[in-house]
């Protein structure tokens, strides 16, 4: 024995507390304690390494250690503390190979028993061997579940609690485990061996769907969809299965959102999706001459764009083809191995309601039921709520036919353009009138009685511009109404149906809103020139000014306003912002190593740069605005130096908030949270 910081009575007490040594009498414990050697390890030091040969058993006398597999940090299996044993798995196995790595988390004092003394002990006390074998088996099972199964997201402790609830079942070659059409009350995890999944068609012919090996789960779909078994599973060779009753699976899923997601994903990857018969299919040609298919789901108002490759996948979604079939067909035709691409298309189609598949009963999962999640949903409901006009499309169509149509013929358009341009010219020449204060006109607050309704009318005219332009081009206005958007009061018009249109009509409808404001501003400016009463002139100039500002703001392509839709359509890049941020987070690091890739992603690079530069420009403009409008006023109540410095703080705050907003969006996209 080397070292003596752990006295004999403490060693005996530690051994006595180990469940595996329960049967040992006091003298045997004392004898064992005397054989222990004391070893010390500093924090971060590897105590045993996976794959090496084991020559001793460890008992932690002080400190904490982490058990991992595949290198530290890669797969945490358990945390060991004072009084816990490790190293017994290798000593009990024939190969003596360490099954995991144990690393000191803190300074660790361990008591070790040599392999020879350990063998003597278990030879003389078979019950100790049995007990330790049980512990060892649990660790091996945790490692198996962590390394290669859908249960990877569960922590070591959660797996330790799960393992006693798993029933082991051996099956012989050819034995049927699950039979198609029967109800399901359990699912199965393949521990060893291989099984075959097969489905019998209406003609009685059997078709093999998949071959599953160790770590694969099967039978879970029937538990979560509450439908009968969709396929039969039989052993291709002698196999060992772990049986999970329905209740156990559901409890596990409720403890881990990641496991929940993994199981649902598994079900969806295995299903045979079927096209929704109500989906409309529209073709259009892109500016590059590619025939695109736009799917429209009328019930949800959702739209989905398919390339020719996507159309190929769509045509195969007949409720018979599995992802395996789709991947094989895709490989045959396009010479590309693309399960990821196909799975993403099917996932997107399912999310938009374009395909029908297995529906996991939401009530079974308990997803998003946490207090934080509920609070978030409630807050979102308050800050993002809308009241829609019933039968908006019919209402706009009626008004368009009876009153607005003349504005869209050549004469009407020339008249509107004359007002817009004439008014703009008047504003440029005499716009300094905007600066005249209300006080000078003796109108005072009475002007608000004009400006507030005029402002609201401007919003309505903007929306009507979009809606009537869509109707003039023959497209549907899905929804229109009033509400809150991220807490900001808005009027809204949904012209998503324009996705079915070629590029230029789409751009026209997006521009129609700001153009309506331009015409209104022009009319106000011309009215101001013609009016004689000073109060009316000032009110009209100010309204024209506000409307011109609105035109500029709504053409901003950095956020979800009209200018953004115009830019997307000009570039023919749907979802430009999302793609740009995804590329910045995933593709840019790779592209920096391959300059030719940077060239292929010029649009993303330029737009991404603009997204980050925009807050900087806004910050500098805010500082300038503060200096012109706020600094003079604040310097009356603050020291002059402080009032001047505040401009810099305003700029820094605007830049930080803007850049952080983009970075958070990028992060959420990377994590798949958007």
């Amino acid at each position: 024995m080397t070292g003596s910081s752990v006295p004999l009575d403490r060693r005996i007490a530690l051994l006595d507390a180990v469940a595996a040594f329960d049967s040992l009498p006091k003298d045997a414990l004392a004898d064992l304690a005397a054989r222990l050697r004391e070893e010390r390890f500093s924090a971060e030091q590897v105590i045993v390494r996976e794959g090496e040969l084991g020559d001793r058993l460890y008992l932690i006398a002080d400190g904490r250690a982490e058990v991992t597999s595949g290198g530290r940090g890669s797969l945490p299996l358990a945390v060991l503390e004072e009084g816990e044993l490790f190293g017994e798995v290798a000593l009990l196995s024939g190969s003596r190979e360490r099954q995991a790595t144990v690393t000191a988390d803190t300074h660790v004092v361990a008591l070790t028993l040599s392999a020879a003394d350990f063998e003597k002990l278990v030879r003389e006390r078979p019950e100790v061997r049995d007990s330790l074998a049980g512990v060892a088996e649990t660790l091996v099972m945790i490692k198996f579940l962590k390394q290669a199964s859908p249960f990877t997201p569960l922590s070591g402790e959660q797996l330790r609690q799960l393992i006693p609830r798993l029933e082991r079942r051996g099956v012989s070659e050819g034995e049927t485990v699950v039979r198609q059409g029967e109800p399901g009350d359990a699912c199965y995890l393949v521990r060893s061996g291989r099984v075959e999944v097969a489905v019998q068609g209406p003609d009685g012919e059997e078709r093999q769907l998949a071959t599953l090996g160790p770590g694969c789960l099967f039978g879970e779909a029937a538990l979560l969809t509450q439908a009968p078994r969709a396929a039969s599973v039989r052993a291709l060779e002698r196999a060992e299965l772990l049986v999970l009753p329905r209740r156990v699976l559901l409890e596990c899923m409720q403890t881990s959102e990641n496991l929940n997601r993994a199981i649902v994903e598994l079900i969806q990857l295995r299903e045979r999706p079927r096209r929704d018969p109500d989906v409309e299919l529209h073709e259009r040609t892109s500016s590059e001459g590619e025939t695109l298919v736009i799917l429209k789901q009328p019930a949800r108002g959702a739209y989905y764009q398919l390339t020719p490759e996507g159309r190929f996948i769509w045509d195969l979604l007949d409720g018979e083809h599995t992802l395996r079939d789709l991947t094989m067909e895709y490989l045959r035709v396009f010479k590309a191995f693309a399960p990821q691409v196909i799975a993403e298309v099917v996932r997107g189609l399912r999310a938009g309601g374009f395909v029908q598949g297995a529906e996991v009963s939401a009530g079974l999962l308990g997803r998003g039921s946490g207090a934080w999640s509920v609070l978030r949903q409630r807050v979102r409901r308050v800050f993002d709520c809308q009241v829609a006009l019933p039968n908006a499309d019919a209402a706009f169509a009626r008004v368009y036919r009876t009153a607005v149509r003349p504005l869209f013929n050549p004469v009407g358009q020339v008249a509107l353009a004359a007002i817009a341009l004439g008014g703009l010219a008047a504003f440029v020449v005499a716009g300094h009138e905007v600066g005249r204060s209300w006080h000078e006109t003796n109108a005072g607050a009475r002007l608000l009685l004009f400006l507030i309704p005029a402002y609201l009318a401007g919003v309505m005219v903007h929306e009507a511009g979009h809606a009537f332009a869509a109707k003039a081009l023959g497209y549907e206005v899905r929804r229109a109404g009033l509400g809150l958007y991220r807490g900001r009061p808005v009027a809204f018009v949904d012209t998503s149906d324009m996705w079915l249109a070629p590029r230029w009509p789409r751009i026209l409808v997006s521009l129609a809103g700001p153009y309506a404001n331009l015409v209104l501003a022009g009319a106000a400016a011309l009215g101001a020139v013609l009016a004689t009463a000073p109060a009316v002139t000032t009110a009209l100039w100010q309204f024209a000014f506000v409307s011109y500002v609105a035109v500029v703001l709504n053409l901003n392509p950095m956020y979800d306003y009209d200018g953004y839709y115009v830019l997307m359509d000009v570039l023919e890049r749907p979802n430009l912002r999302k793609h740009t941020l995804q590329w910045l987070s995933r593709g840019l690091p790779r592209a920096l190593r391959r300059p030719q890739e940077l060239g292929r992603h010029r649009v993303e690079l330029a737009y991404g740069l603009a997204l980050f530069l925009y807050p900087v420009v806004m910050g500098l403009l805010s500082m300038q605005a503060y200096r012109v409008l706020g600094q003079h006023w604040l310097s009356r109540i603050l020291p002059a130096g402080t009032a001047a410095a505040l401009g810099g703080w305003v700029a820094a705050a605007v830049i930080a908030a803007g850049v952080a907003g983009v970075a958070i969006e990028m992060y959420r996209l990377r994590r798949g949270q958007v």
């Binding site: 090996g213 736009i294 989905y304 395996r324 010479k335 808005v490 012209t495 506000v546």
Partner: protein, 68 residues
């Protein structure tokens, strides 16, 4: 790549999340470690797995004008 080998590869991709992740990071290495032997043409097919985007949901075109 024989049909059976490819089917086996797809089965593992679908049913084993860990394999899927590994494949995402290093497709060629993952296939090589799986013990499948591929011809040059088959490797080419595998390298083309990140084919052009085949489809995407189109975001709703909802005008929410900015008026300050």
């Amino acid at each position: 790549m024989s049909r059976e080998s490819v089917e086996l590869l797809i089965d593992r991709w679908i049913n084993e999340p860990a394999f899927r992740e590994e494949f995402q990071r290093d497709p060629e290495g993952t296939v090589a470690r799986s013990g499948l032997s591929l011809t040059e043409q088959e490797w080419e097919d595998l390298r083309r797995m990140e084919a052009s985007v085949a489809g995407e949901a189109l975001q709703a075109r909802v005008s929410k004008p900015y008026f300050g």
